[in-house]
């Protein structure tokens, strides 16, 4: 197979040094327990792992639901207080029974049509790529989450252990 093509324009970003002593590292804090809040950290983690980076995600407060054995499949989108819904829903109507379920079904439909993995599949990709998944121990204590409630491959850690990981990170984001 052959191709004739113009060489690509030089990339806009800065040049990587040829020899790095260690891989780049991404440290994420996932603090939101909504369906729309779960995707950004999971997408960033999958991308960074594809670049050959080390990745760690600290799941804290409601974000802990993303790695909860049962709850990670039941994350929802709230139409209340969300003016960005494609069909703007007045808060008063958004609070009606069934509206959260409807918004959640709608978003799951978009994701499926776009052929994006669901939350469980993104977590599987994260585990396959060696992404470190930290469950915030304080959140577990506050919310009564037991070790047996967590997905396999999730490590219990305090903020100290996460910060120790993040201290060696090149990119750190709170999501």
């Amino acid at each position: 197979m052959t191709a004739a093509a113009r060489a690509p324009a030089p990339a806009a970003g800065r040049e990587e040094p040829r020899e790095r002593t260690r891989p780049r590292r991404l440290a994420l804090v996932a603090s939101k327990g909504t369906l729309d809040g779960a995707y950004p950290p999971l997408i960033l983690a999958a991308t960074a792992a594809s670049l050959g980076w080390e990745v760690g995600i600290f799941f804290t407060f409601y974000g802990l639901d993303i790695v909860h054995r049962r709850r990670h499949r039941k994350l929802k989108v709230a139409p209340v207080g969300n003016p960005a819904m494609p069909v703007p829903v007045p808060n008063l109507l958004g609070a009606l029974p069934g509206m959260t379920a409807a918004a959640t079904t709608m978003m799951k439909g978009w994701m499926k049509r776009a052929r994006l993995p669901d939350v469980a599949q993104f977590l599987e990709m994260a585990r396959e790529s060696g992404t470190k998944l930290f469950a915030c121990s304080t959140t577990m204590g506050v919310m009564g989450v037991k070790e047996s409630d967590l997905l396999p491959g999730v490590d219990i850690a305090g903020a100290t252990a996460f910060l120790d990981f993040a201290a060696g990170a090149d990119v750190s984001l709170f999501v």
Binding site: A3, A5, A9, A11, E16, L51, G52, R115
Partner: protein, 80 residues
């Protein structure tokens, strides 16, 4: 103009970020040093993402073609 050959192909048409880069990463892992992968995408973000991907992974991006409805990339795996 440059002429070159490729050893493997990957179809990422219809896929959105992060899947094109994720699948490409897996395909690159199966290549030997010096081999070239041809990737076809339809995510317009790939025009920005693939040069960044190549830079981060230490791959040679031999060509990036914007064909309007699709983007085609040729990546060569360098010796480790």
């Amino acid at each position: 103009m440059i002429d070159f050959t490729w050893d493997a192909e990957l179809d990422c048409k219809g896929l959105l970020c992060p899947l094109p880069v994720y699948r490409t990463s897996q395909a690159i892992a199966r290549l030997g040093a010096g081999q070239v992968l041809r990737v076809e995408c339809t995510d317009p973000g790939s025009l920005a993402d693939f040069p960044a991907f190549a830079r981060q992974r230490g791959l040679a991006l031999l060509a990036a073609q914007d064909q309007g409805d699709r983007q085609v990339f040729y990546l060569r795996k360098e010796a480790a």
